[in-house]
């Protein structure tokens, strides 16, 4: 029995659900700002409510992380890798919070309405300000690239644990153990 310690079922559920949402957001985001064709309006109308859903879920997730502590890394993991794991998780959590807020703030600063669905809109969270919009819009892209890069590193590290180290870390989150 190698993966005695697992993330709780709820932790795994929220991890994989948010993984799917965040990856979808990254691809929708980078696609919609570079492809002004028929699908554009549809993609924008998905991007906004999905971002707000991620913001709501990350709050639930942080509360859950505090209530259901993650299993510790195996003692065999070297110090440098522990530090890298810790830092990358901080970046992931930070960006899960920052990306939706920067997006919401940037639309506010540009004076765009923040329509979620049908008649449902959110209020502006920042005053209308051209300089602020330009800065936040640039930040939204830059942080998106950082988030994508961190997700790729996270995926690589998970596979490294699962295929090379075979130390049970991947299995602690993946509900289906990879084939060996």
């Amino acid at each position: 029995m190698r993966s005695a310690q697992q993330f709780s079922a709820f932790s795994r559920l929220i991890h994989w659900a948010m993984a799917a949402m965040i990856i979808a957001m990254l691809f929708i985001g980078v696609g919609m700002v570079t492809s002004p064709t028929g699908r554009y309006a549809e993609l924008v109308s998905i991007h906004k409510p999905l971002g707000i859903a991620i913001l709501a879920l990350v709050v639930v997730r942080i509360v859950n992380r505090w209530a259901n502590r993650p299993p510790p890394l195996p003692r065999s993991v070297p110090q440098l890798q522990r530090a890298a794991a810790h830092t990358s998780h901080l970046i992931l959590y930070g960006l899960m919070i920052a990306m939706p807020l920067v997006g919401w703030g940037m639309l506010s600063a540009a004076g765009y309405p923040i329509v979620l669905y049908g008649p449902l809109s959110l209020p502006a969270i920042l005053p209308q300000n051209p300089g602020l919009y330009a800065g936040l819009r640039t930040a939204h892209s830059a942080l998106a690239y950082l988030l994508f890069a961190t997700v790729v590193v996270h995926l690589g590290a998970a596979l490294f644990h699962g295929l090379i180290r075979r130390d049970g870390v991947l299995e602690s989150m993946a509900s289906v153990a990879p084939r060996r």
């Binding site: 029995m1 190698r2 993966s3 005695a4 310690q5 990254l26 691809f27 980078v30 696609g31 919609m32 700002v33 570079t34 492809s35 002004p36 064709t37 028929g38 699908r39 554009y40 309006a41 924008v44 299993p71 195996p74 003692r75 065999s76 540009a110 004076g111 765009y112 309405p113 329509v115 049908g118 008649p119 809109s121 209308q128 300000n129 051209p130 300089g131 919009y133 330009a134 800065g135 819009r137 640039t138 994508f148 790729v152 995926l155 690589g156 596979l159 490294f160 295929l163 090379i164 180290r165 075979r166 130390d167 049970g168």
Partner: protein, 366 residues
């Protein structure tokens, strides 16, 4: 048990294979992202490229809109008659008054172009119902759009760019474009036959694109709309605009100073299979409904004015109006956002707009 049960080390070939798998997964992820973002498709018409095309045609004017660059703000009200509430559940169509922030402008990217009657004029409206979803629309005084797709729009603009050798557009390029785009000549003929009026106030402005109006019961009606002036239409003076470089704007300022400028907002109700191609008109027998009256009672200079820091993005729509899927609409929305991002980042470098606050206060005298 979690800590002490590492499996025996992998042999060299298993190690290579497994690192290979990890590398392939990561490379595919990065590749898919790069493909989606257009890095692998240098031909893709991104909003950035379309906006760069405007800069090629019009030069660099930091801080100004990349299109409809020369303009003036105005404020007023929309008074809904309630007639459009039958076909759209949008709150602003219920009987009553809604504040408006408008912008009148010339199409094109040159903020200091000399006013002439032949230039394409635009009227953009932002409806701001208290506590309800806003609506933005841009309308122009041509009956149809010259092209159907974003690609054609870009290619046409490129064909008209001055040849670096002669400093003039190469007629062969434009001829080739016209020859390969049969719809262009038909649309051009309609645009060429439009009545050119004396000023901004007696012009009809058309939204050109098709939208879907959604009623409270879910019924969908394809709609195009126009703003039809109450001012009597006076044909433009063929002799030109004289010495005043802002002749049309100054005339509007003087006109608005005497009494409000008004248009009827006319909705044309389409049939389910009517085209959404903006370069093609609908049959002339389509029913029209007067949604209400647009009244602009105050003209405001653009610098510091209420219309300056927003885009008239035609996809800012209230619940009850939807895009038809016309791709030029998507292109407008995304390129306006690109233009806003650029000009908002250039605030400190912007020159004063052509029509100055002093000109507005002085009722059109410079």
């Amino acid at each position: 048990m979690f800590d002490d049960d590492r499996l025996p080390p992998l042999n060299a070939s298993a190690m290579v294979l497994r690192f290979g798998i990890i590398g392939a997964v990561l490379a595919c992820s990065v590749g898919a992202f790069a493909y989606t973002g257009g890095w692998l498709s240098p031909d893709r018409l991104t909003p950035a490229r379309i906006v760069a095309g405007f800069e090629q045609a019009s030069g660099s004017h930091p801080g100004f809109r990349r299109n409809h660059a020369k303009g003036l703000c105005a404020t007023g009200t929309f008074e809904s008659r309630g007639a459009a509430a039958q076909i759209s559940k949008a709150a602003l169509f219920a009987p009553g008054r809604v504040p408006l922030v408008a912008r009148v402008a010339f199409a094109g990217g040159m903020p200091f172009v000399q006013d002439t009657p032949a230039q394409v004029r635009s009227l953009a409206l932002r409806f701001l119902p208290e506590g309800r979803q806003e609506w933005r629309t841009g309308m122009i005084n041509i009956p149809v759009f010259p092209v159907t797709t974003v690609r054609d729009f870009y290619d046409q603009a490129q064909a008209m760019l001055p040849d670096p050798a002669t400093g003039k557009p190469d007629p062969a390029k434009m001829q080739a474009f016209v020859a390969s785009h049969p719809g262009f000549a038909a649309a051009g003929a309609l645009i060429g036959r439009r009545q050119i009026t004396s000023g901004f106030a007696d012009t009809t402005y058309n939204a050109i694109h098709t939208f879907r109006f959604v009623a409270a019961d879910g019924a969908v009606t394809p709609v195009r709309w126009s703003a039809v002036p109450l001012d009597p239409v006076v044909p433009a003076d063929a002799t030109g605009s004289g010495a005043d470089p802002n002749a049309l704007f100054d005339a509007l300022i003087a006109r608005a100073a005497s009494r409000p400028v008004q248009w009827r907002l006319m909705l044309t109700l389409g049939q389910p299979d009517d085209t959404i191609d903006p370069s093609k008109p609908w049959a002339p027998d389509r029913r029209q409904v007067e949604a209400g009256l647009v009244t602009l009672d105050r003209v405001v200079a653009e610098d510091g004015g209420p219309c300056t820091d927003v885009t008239y993005d035609p996809l800012v729509l209230p619940d009850g109006i939807e895009s038809s899927g016309d791709e030029i609409l998507a292109a407008r929305s995304s390129t306006y956002a690109r233009s806003l991002r650029l000009r908002d980042g250039e605030q400190g470098q912007k020159a004063r707009s052509a029509v100055t606050p002093r000109e507005v206060v002085g009722r059109g005298r410079q």
